[in-house]
C-alpha cells in the first residue's frame, strides 16, 4: 500500500518536473525593454530622443571630466590651485597618454553611446506615421547625432580651420544607421578623414534644420539650437558665409545686462539656444558639474582651478561679466579667484546648474568672427557691439578695425564664454599657441604658476589620444601622432 502511494506521488512529481522546461523558456527581463519593439509611438520615440540628451549630459556635466570644464583646464583660462585635489592635473600639464583616466576615456565612449541611441531612433523612425511630429523626432536625433560626432571630431582630430593638412588627416568614425554602419557589435571600424567627418556632421545638421520643430521645451534641441550649432560648425569648417547665414536663423535674444547673472543661477533662460537641463539631484546623484572647478562647504571653498590671474586682471572693471565669472574662494587661509559660473542654482553652492551648450552670445560671436574673416569689418564690429552693449553699464563702441577688431572679438569671446568649454577649441581651431602666464594660483597672482607654460600650435597634444582600451579592442583604430 505504502509503496503504491509513494510511487504515484513520484510519478506526479516527475511529471511536474518536466513541465519546468516552460518556466525556463518563458522567463523575460523584468526591468528592461526590448530595443527592437519598444519604439512604436511618438512618446516612446521621444523617450529615445531624451535618452540621447541624457548621454550628452553624461559627458558635459561629469563632475570630474565634464566638457564644460576640461577645454578650459586645457587652456590659459585657469590655473591649478595647489590646495585643491589636483584633479585633472594630467590634463592641465598636458601629460595625458592613451590610458590616462578621465576626460579622454569619457568623451570617447559617451559620445558613441549618444550616437548609438540616435541611430536606434533614426533606424526605426518609419514606425511613425509621416508628419511634422515624426520630422521633429528625426530632426532632434539627427542633430544630436551630428553634435556628438562634432564633439568627438574636435577632441580627437584636427579641426579643418586649424591647419592646411587638417581635412586630409585622420578624423573619427562617423556612424549612420541608414548607411549600414551599425548593428554588428564586433565591428572594428577604421578612422575616416576630418574632411569627410565635417561633411557628414553638416549634412546631418542641415537635414535636421529643415525638419525639426521650433520649440521643444527646456533641455531639447529645436530649430534655433540646430542653427546655433551650425553657426559654430561652419566657423570650425571655415565656411564663413554659411556661419553668418546660420547665425541669422537663430531667433533667440541675447541675455541682457540685467538678466546675465540670473542665467548662471538658472533663474533666467535668457539667451539660451541649447542647454542640457539638470534639475534634480537624483539625475546627477549629487555628482555635479561645478565640482570640476570647486567644491564649497560652510568652512571652505576647495577650488581645483582658479581664474588665471592675468586673464582676470585684463578684464575691464566695468565689464558686467566679472560678476558672473569670479568670487573669492578661501581655503587653508588662501584666497583664490574662484570660478562662479558653476557654483549652483540661486542660493546653492552644490555645483549643480544646467549646461549651457549654445548661447545667443556665442552665435553672435560666431557671426562677428565670420564677418571679420570675410573682411566685413563694419558688420563684424556691429555684431560685436550688439553684444558689448549688453555687457557694459554704459557702452561706447570701441570702433576697432583690423587687428584690434579681431583681438576684440576674440577677447570678448574668451570673456563671454569663459569656463563653458570653449577656450581650448577656439585656440586650436585658430591654430594659435596656448600661452600661460607666470602668475601663481593665489588671488593676487602669487603662489604656484602653471608647470607647462606653452603648448605651441602644431603640437600633437592638441589632438587628445584615442583611449588605449579602444586601440586594444579595435586593431583597426589608428592612434594619433605623438602617442
Amino acid at each position: 500500500m505504502k509503496n503504491r502511494i509513494i510511487k504515484i506521488l513520484l510519478v506526479v512529481l516527475t511529471l511536474g518536473f518536466f513541465a519546468c522546461d516552460d518556466e525556463l523558456n518563458e522567463l523575460q527581463p523584468f526591468i528592461e525593454g526590448n530595443p527592437e519593439t519598444f519604439f512604436n509611438s511618438l512618446s516612446t520615440f521621444q523617450n529615445g530622443v531624451d535618452g540621447i540628451y541624457s548621454q550628452l549630459v553624461n559627458y558635459y556635466a561629469n563632475p570630474g571630466s565634464g566638457m564644460q570644464g576640461i577645454p578650459d583646464i586645457l587652456s590659459d583660462n585657469v590655473v591649478l590651485v595647489q590646495t585643491g585635489r589636483t584633479s585633472n592635473e594630467d590634463y592641465y600639464d598636458y601629460r595625458y597618454v592613451p590610458n590616462t583616466a578621465g576626460a579622454l576615456q569619457l568623451y570617447w565612449s559617451e559620445c558613441y553611446e549618444a550616437i548609438n541611441v540616435a541611430n536606434l531612433v533614426i533606424g526605426q523612425i518609419d514606425n511613425l506615421a509621416d508628419g511634422p511630429e515624426k520630422d521633429n523626432i528625426l530632426g532632434q536625433a539627427l542633430a544630436a547625432r551630428a553634435y556628438a560626432h562634432f564633439d568627438l571630431a574636435r577632441t580627437y582630430a584636427k579641426i579643418p580651420s586649424q591647419s592646411g593638412d587638417a581635412n586630409g588627416s585622420p578624423g573619427i568614425v562617423y556612424l549612420k544607421v541608414e548607411d549600414g554602419d551599425t548593428g554588428d557589435p564586433f565591428a572594428q571600424p577604421s578612422r575616416e578623414t576630418v574632411g569627410s567627418n565635417y561633411a557628414e556632421i553638416i549634412g546631418d545638421l542641415e537635414t535636421a534644420a529643415q525638419i525639426i520643430g521650433t520649440g521643444n521645451g527646456e533641455g531639447r534641441l529645436d530649430r534655433n539650437g540646430v542653427y546655433g550649432i551650425l553657426s559654430r560648425v561652419y566657423l570650425y569648417n571655415g565656411e564663413y558665409q554659411k556661419a553668418i547665414d546660420a547665425a541669422n536663423q537663430v531667433t533667440t535674444q541675447l541675455a541682457t545686462a540685467s538678466e546675465l547673472e540670473d542665467v548662471f543661477t538658472d533663474v533666467s533662460s535668457a539667451g539660451l539656444v541649447f542647454e542640457l537641463a539638470i534639475n534634480t539631484s537624483t539625475e546627477t546623484t549629487n555628482n555635479n558639474v561645478g565640482v570640476l572647478y570647486s567644491q564649497s562647504s560652510a568652512d571652505a571653498v576647495i577650488s581645483e582651478y582658479a581664474i588665471e590671474f592675468e586673464f582676470w586682471s585684463s578684464i575691464d572693471p566695468d565689464d558686467l561679466r566679472r560678476n558672473v565669472l569670479q568670487f573669492v574662494g578661501t581655503n587653508q587661509g588662501n584666497d583664490y579667484n574662484a570660478v562662479k559660473k558653476f557654483l549652483g542654482e540661486a542660493g546653492q553652492v552644490n555645483g549643480r546648474v544646467d549646461i549651457k551648450v549654445i548661447r545667443a552670445a556665442e552665435v553672435l560671436l560666431n557671426k562677428a568672427e565670420a564677418q571679420f574673416e570675410l573682411g566685413q569689418e563694419a558688420a563684424a564690429l556691429a555684431s560685436l557691439d550688439e553684444l558689448r552693449a549688453q555687457r557694459f553699464a554704459s557702452f561706447v563702441s570701441g570702433g576697432e578695425t583690423g587687428q584690434a577688431l579681431e583681438d576684440a572679438i576674440q577677447f570678448n569671446r574668451r570673456v563671454e564664454l569663459a569656463f563653458e568649454g570653449h577656450r581650448f577649441f577656439d585656440l586650436k581651431r585658430r591654430g594659435e599657441n596656448i600661452e600661460r602666464s607666470t602668475a601663481g594660483d593665489i588671488i593676487d597672482g602669487s603662489g604656484t604658476p602653471a608647470e607647462v607654460q606653452t603648448l605651441s600650435a602644431g603640437d600633437t597634444r592638441f589632438q587628445l589620444p584615442i583611449p588605449l582600451s579602444e586601440i586594444n579592442a579595435n586593431p583597426n583604430m589608428e592612434q594619433n601622432d605623438g602617442y
Binding site: I6, L13, F17, Y112, G219, I278, L468, S469, A473
Partner: protein, 1014 residues
C-alpha cells in the same frame, strides 16, 4: 545573551540507580574520545570525553554498549563494580571513512574521485575567523584561498585547481546539507559569511570530474559540500565555548615620514623645481613655523586605527534517541575591526538540525539556520576617504584637530574639538562618523528531506532546500558632516538612502536510487536525479533628505523623498541526471554520470548543456597479494569528465533597453549589447590519483595529477566603443585555457604514545596554466588598469607592463625599454610587453601543520605558503610618487638620485613625468610568503580535577593568528582585492591579487578562550 539559556539547559538528572564510570581506549591503549555509550534498551546514552572517560547512570544487570566508528562494538553487562574500563579493537570490516560526495555519501574506499575533506578538528583551531571560506586556506590540496581583504566578516576568494574561468566569478559552488548557496561576488552577496563555523561537521571539496560533473553546469569551479553537525542518540551533550581577543594591523616593512622628515623632503623637492612642492610649508615656512609644525608631529595610523576586539561565544546542545536526534546551536561573534570610530562586524546565529525515523521505511530530516549580521561599510577606495589610504596620505605636520595660534585644540560652540580638514580637504576621522554606511543581513538556510526505502533495492530521497537573505543597507550623510557641506542643501539637512534586497533561492530535488548485489561480488547502483532551482531577487530602495535630527535614522521623519526604485530578477536552472556505480568486491570500481542542465541565462539555441563523467578505481590493498604488506590502504584511481559554467549575469544573450530620466522625463537607452550566440563554458578534467595509508594509517597521503581544460570561456570581451555599448563589452565565448598540476597531501603521526602525540601534515599544489586559444588568436588586454594580458601560448593572466631599466647614473633620469628592447628615456604605453612567467598566479602553494599533544597540553601551528606569484605594488608607487609630495611619503623617498654616479636610487624628482608611472616592472614584486596562520596552545583539564561539578570536559586555549610572516614583498603579501572601488569580482578586467591599493589590510590577532562540556 547566552547566560539565561545556559542556566535553562543546566538541569541535570542525577538518578539514584548508580553511576558507572570508566575509561575507553583503543587497541594501543590510547584514550578514545567520542565513543558512544548506551544503556541497551533505553534512551540513556553518553559519550567519552577527550581522555576517553565516560560516566553514565544505569542499574546493575543492564548492559552497556560501546560503539565507535572503525571499532568493533562491545557490549558489557553491569556488575557490582561502578567502574567499567573497555579496550576496543579495530574492526577491519567497519573501518571505512565516509566521504560526502555529490548527492549523497560514499565510503572513501569505494570512491573513485579526488575529494579533500576538512574536519571539525581543523576548523576549531581557527577560532578568530568568522567566515568559513577563510578557514579553508591551506587545509586542502588544490584549494587556493585568499582573503578578499582584512575587513571583518568579509569573504575570501576560493579557487579550486586554478583559474578555470576568466570571467570574474570563479567562486566554487557551496552546498550546505544539500542546499546550493547562491553567491554573487559582484554584489558582495555571500550567505556563506553568515554560517557559524561551530556548526560545521566537515567540508568536502570536490575537485575532479567524477564528482563535479554531477553538479553539471555549476560544477566547473569545483564544489564545496558543507555538512553541519547532527545529534547522536544518547544523553544531551552541552558544549559552551567563549573566546576573547584583539587584533591589530600587521606592521609594514617600511617607515613613513615624520613631520621633520616630510618638511625636509618638501624643501628638497621645491629646490629641485618640483612644482607641487613650492607651495608646501617645507618650502615656505620660516624657522618658527617649521618648529611649530614639527611640534604637531602626528602619527596618523594611531589617530585613525585601533586595536580591534574579537569576541566569540557558542553554545551547542545535542542528543537524541533511536527515533529522533537533534543538534541545537547558538553563536555570537563580534569583531570591531581596526578602523577607529566605527562598529565593525557582529553576528548572531542559531541552528536546529533534526532527524526523525518516522517509519522503518521513512526518515525525515529538517535543518534550519537563522543568522543576522551587521557590518559597517567603510569606503574601500584609492583616496583619503579610505582610512587605510588616509593613514599614509595625511601629512604628519597636519594634526587631527585644528589648533589655534597657541597650539591649543580649537573647539566648536558645543566644546567639541574641530577636526582638521587637512591639506587633503577631507577629514576621514570625522567622515567615518558623519557619513555612516552599514549593512544588515538576515539569512535563513533550511533544508527538508525525506528518505524513503521502498525495498532493499529501491530508495528515494526527496529534498527541498531554501536560502533566503534579507539585506538592508543604510547610507547616511548627516547634517553638518563632511559631505553635507559640499553636496547638501541647507534647507534639507541630511540625506539617507535605504536599500532592501530579498534574495530567495529554492532548490527541489528528487533522487531515485536502485542498488543491488549479484553473486555477492557485483555491486551495482543507479540513481536518477531531477532538480529544479530558481533564484528570485527583489530590491527596493529609497532616498530622502531633510532630517530633523541625526539621531533618527529613518526616512519617515525626512522632509522629502528624493529617489526610489524597485526591481526584480530571476534565474532558473532545471536539470536531469543519471549516476551509475559499479564495484567488483570492493576491488575494482567504475562510476559514470550524465547530466542535462537547462539555464535561463542562455538564448533559445543554447539553453541546454550536457555534462558527463567516467571514473575507475582499483583498491590494490584489497587484493590477496597485498595481505600482510605495510599498506593498509592503496588505491589507484582515474576520472575524466565535463562540467559547465554559467556564472554570467542574466540576459546577456539579449539586447536590452534601460529606462532612466532626463530632466525628469523618461529616457530609453540601450544598456547592453546582447550576444545570442553565447553558450555554456565547459570544462574537461582528467584526474589520476593514488591514495595510500601505511603502518596502520600512521602515514597516509594522496597524490593527484590533474589537467583541466576550460573551453568556450565566457568573458565580457572588450568592444570598440564605437558600438556605443554602455559597458563597452559583450559576453562571448572567447577561448580555451588549460590548468594542470600535481597535488600532494601527506599526514603522519610521527609519535603516537600514551602521553605524547606528535602529528604532522601538509599539502602542496603545483599549478601550471596556459592560454590555449583565443578568438582569431587576438590578445585580450585585461586587468583593472590594463596591466594583464591573455595571449595564446602564454601563461594565464600574464603581466603586461613597461620594462623599467633603472636610473641613468649620469643624470638621475628613469630609463625604460621600448617595445623592441632598446633603452630609452621616454615612457609610453606602447612599450608594454608580456612578461614571461610573471602573473598573479602562484606556481605552488599550500599549507602544513604540526600538532603536539602532551597529556592535557596541546600546541598546534598551521602555516600557509605561496610561491611564484607577482604583485604590482602600487601602494609603494603611491608612497614615493613625486607628484604626491603634497601627501606624506615613505622614508625611502629620500633615496633619490642626487649626483652623477649614484646607483640603486630612485629617479631624480626632476623627472616627475616619466618617474611617476605605476604600470612598470619597477613596482612588480614577487609575492612569495610563508605565514604562520594560527598558533594554538591549549590545555584540557584532567577529569580528576573536574570532580563532581557535572563537567565532562574543560579546555582553555590561546590562539595567535598571522603572528609571523616570511616575505620579501614590500608590504603585506596577502592580496585579494587591490581596491574594491577600482575593481572587484564582477568588474571588467578584475584579476585577484594583481595589485595592492589600500584595501582593508590583513590583521594579526590574539585570542583566549575556554570551552566547557557537560
Amino acid at each position: 545573551m547566552l547566560t539565561p539559556l545556559l542556566v535553562l539547559c543546566m538541569t541535570f538528572s542525577f538518578a539514584q540507580e548508580k553511576t558507572v564510570t570508566g575509561n575507553v581506549t583503543d587497541e594501543n591503549g590510547l584514550p578514545l574520545p567520542g565513543v558512544s555509550v548506551v544503556v541497551v534498551g533505553t534512551t540513556t546514552g553518553a559519550q567519552t570525553d577527550f581522555d576517553g572517560n565516560y560516566s553514565i547512570t544505569a542499574s546493575e544487570g543492564q548492559q552497556l554498549q560501546f560503539s565507535y566508528l572503525g571499532q568493533s562494538t562491545v557490549t558489557i553487562r553491569i556488575g557490582a563494580s561502578n567502574v567499567i574500563d573497555v579496550q576496543m579493537q579495530e574492526d577491519a570490516e567497519t573501518l571505512e571513512e565516509v566521504v560526502v560526495v555529490g548527492y549523497g555519501s560514499k565510503s572513501r574506499e569505494l570512491s573513485t574521485s579526488a575529494v579533500s575533506t576538512v574536519k571539525t578538528e581543523a576548523i576549531e583551531a581557527f577560532v578568530p575567523s568568522t567566515s568559513i571560506d577563510n578557514i579553508l586556506q591551506g587545509q586542502a590540496a588544490g584549494v587556493q584561498v585568499t582573503a578578499a581583504n582584512g575587513r571583518p566578516g568579509n569573504t575570501a576568494f576560493v579557487q579550486i585547481r586554478g583559474v578555470g574561468s576568466i570571467n570574474a566569478q570563479t567562486t566554487p559552488l557551496y552546498v550546505i546539507d544539500g542546499t546550493p548557496i547562491p553567491i554573487d561576488t559582484e554584489r558582495d552577496f555571500n550567505p556563506i559569511n553568515n554560517l557559524n563555523p561551530a556548526d560545521i561537521e566537515s567540508l568536502s571539496i570536490l575537485k575532479d570530474a567524477a564528482t563535479v560533473s554531477k553538479y553539471g553546469s555549476r560544477g566547473a569551479n569545483g564544489v564545496v559540500l558543507i555538512t553541519t553537525k547532527k545529534g547522536r542518540s544518547g544523553d544531551a551533550r552541552i558544549n559552551f565555548r567563549s573566546s576573547y581577543g584583539f587584533g591589530e594591523r600587521i606592521p609594514d616593512p617600511f617607515d613613513v615620514m615624520n613631520a621633520a622628515q616630510k618638511l625636509e623632503l618638501e624643501r628638497q623637492y621645491a629646490e629641485l623645481g618640483v612644482n607641487a612642492a613650492t607651495s608646501l610649508p617645507g618650502a615656505n615656512a620660516d624657522d618658527a613655523e617649521r618648529a611649530r609644525l614639527i611640534g604637531l608631529d602626528t602619527n596618523w595610523e594611531e589617530e585613525l586605527l585601533r586595536k580591534s576586539v574579537i569576541q566569540s561565544n557558542s553554545l551547542t546542545v545535542s542528543g537524541g534517541n533511536e527515533d529522533i536526534t537533534y543538534f541545537l546551536s547558538l553563536g555570537y561573534d563580534k569583531n570591531t575591526g581596526i578602523i577607529d570610530r566605527i562598529k565593525g562586524f557582529e553576528r548572531v546565529s542559531a541552528r536546529l538540525n533534526t532527524t526523525y525515523n518516522a517509519k522503518d521505511w521513512l526518515t525525515l530530516g529538517a535543518n534550519i539556520s537563522l543568522s543576522r549580521s551587521t557590518t559597517d561599510l567603510p569606503r574601500d577606495r584609492n583616496n583619503v576617504q579610505n582610512p587605510f589610504r588616509g593613514m599614509y596620505d595625511y601629512n604628519p605636520w597636519d594634526p587631527l584637530f585644528l589648533r589655534d595660534g597657541d597650539g591649543n585644540i580649537q573647539r566648536d560652540s558645543q566644546g567639541d574639538p574641530i577636526y582638521n580638514p587637512t591639506t587633503t580637504g577631507f577629514p576621514i576621522a570625522l567622515a567615518l562618523q558623519t557619513e555612516p554606511e552599514d549593512r544588515r543581513d538576515f539569512t535563513i538556510i533550511g533544508n527538508l528531506s525525506a528518505d524513503v526505502r521502498f525495498s532493499d533495492n529501491f530508495s528515494n530521497r526527496f529534498s527541498v532546500g531554501a536560502v533566503s537573505n534579507r539585506f538592508n543597507r543604510t547610507s547616511r550623510s548627516i547634517a553638518g558632516g563632511v559631505l553635507q557641506g559640499f553636496i547638501g542643501d541647507a534647507n534639507f539637512p541630511g540625506t539617507q538612502t535605504d536599500n532592501f534586497n530579498l534574495d530567495f533561492e529554492y532548490n527541489v530535488n528528487n533522487l531515485f536510487t536502485y542498488s543491488d548485489t549479484f553473486n555477492g561480488v557485483h555491486n551495482v547502483s543507479a540513481s536518477f536525479l531531477l532538480e529544479y532551482n530558481e533564484n528570485i531577487r527583489t530590491d527596493l530602495r529609497a532616498t530622502s533628505r531633510g532630517f530633523p535630527s541625526p539621531d533618527i535614522p529613518y526616512q519617515e521623519v525626512a522632509a522629502e523623498p528624493t529617489a526610489a526604485g524597485s526591481e526584480e530578477a530571476r534565474r532558473i536552472l532545471f536539470s536531469q541526471g543519471l549516476f551509475v556505480d559499479y564495484d567488483y568486491d570492493g576491488k575494482y570500481i567504475l562510476s559514470g554520470s550524465v547530466r542535462r542542465d537547462g539555464s535561463s541565462r542562455f538564448g533559445p539555441e543554447n539553453k541546454y548543456g550536457y555534462f558527463y563523467s567516467a571514473s575507475a578505481a582499483w583498491n590494490i590493498a584489497n587484493e590477496n597479494f597485498m595481505e600482510g604488506s605495510i599498506f593498509n590502504n592503496l588505491k589507484l584511481r582515474a576520472s575524466y569528465g565535463t562540467s559547465g559554467n554559467q556564472n554570467i549575469p542574466d540576459n546577456e544573450f539579449l539586447n536590452l533597453l534601460d529606462f532612466n530620466t532626463y530632466n525628469g522625463l523618461t529616457t530609453a537607452i540601450p544598456v547592453g549589447v546582447g550576444n545570442p550566440e553565447i553558450q555554456w563554458e565547459s570544462q574537461a578534467i582528467l584526474d589520476i590519483g593514488i591514495e595510500f595509508g601505511l603502518f596502520n594509517n600512521r602515514i597516509n597521503g594522496v597524490v593527484d595529477y590533474f589537467k583541466k581544460n576550460s573551453e568556450d570561456l565566457l568573458l565580457a570581451s572588450p568592444l570598440s566603443s564605437t558600438v556605443g555599448d554602455e559597458l563597452d563589452d559583450i559576453f562571448a565565448n572567447v577561448g580555451e585555457v588549460e590548468n594542470s598540476g600535481i597535488e600532494v597531501s601527506l599526514n603522519a603521526d610521527v609519535i603516537r604514545s600514551e602521553n605524547f602525540v606528535w602529528s604532522l601534515g601538509g599539502n602542496v599544489t603545483f599549478l601550471d596554466n596556459e592560454v590555449v586559444s583565443l578568438v582569431n588568436g587576438e590578445d585580450i588586454i585585461t586587468g583593472t588598469f590594463g596591466n594583464i594580458i591573455l595571449r595564446e601560448g602564454a601563461p594565464l593572466n600574464s603581466y603586461y607592463l613597461v620594462r623599467y631599466a633603472g636610473v641613468n647614473p649620469a643624470n638621475g633620469e628613469p630609463l625604460y625599454l621600448d617595445a623592441d628592447g632598446n633603452v630609452t628615456n621616454e615612457y609610453s604605453d606602447n612599450f608594454q610587453v608580456l612578461l614571461d612567467d610573471k602573473s598573479p598566479i602562484a606556481d605552488f602553494e599550500g599549507g602544513f601543520f604540526t600538532n603536539f599533544r602532551y597529556k592535557g597540553f596541546g600546541l598546534r601551528g598551521d602555516f600557509v605558503y605561496r610561491k611564484g606569484n607577482h604583485i604590482l605594488n602600487i601602494q609603494r608607487q603611491q608612497g614615493i610618487a613625486i607628484g604626491n609630495i603634497n601627501r606624506n611619503q615613505r622614508v625611502e623617498a629620500f633615496n633619490y638620485w642626487k649626483e652623477p654616479g649614484d646607483q640603486n636610487v630612485l629617479p631624480s624628482p626632476r623627472f616627475q613625468n616619466t618617474a611617476d608611472q605605476a604600470g612598470t616592472t619597477r613596482f612588480l614584486e614577487p609575492g612569495d610568503f610563508l605565514r604562520l596562520r594560527t598558533l594554538t596552545l591549549d590545555y584540557n583539564f584532567p577529569r580528576e580535577l573536574l570532580g563532581d561539578f557535572g563537567i565532562s570536559n574543560l579546555r582553555i586555549f590561546a590562539t595567535g593568528q598571522n603572528i609571523w610572516t616570511l616575505t620579501n614583498f614590500n608590504g603585506d603579501p596577502e592580496i585579494g582585492l587591490g581596491s574594491a572601488e577600482s575593481g572587484e569580482p564582477g568588474d571588467q578586467g578584475f584579476v585577484q591579487g594583481e595589485f595592492n591599493l589600500f584595501s582593508y589590510p590583513q590583521v594579526r590577532s590574539y585570542t583566549f578562550g575556554i570551552e566547557v562540556g557537560f
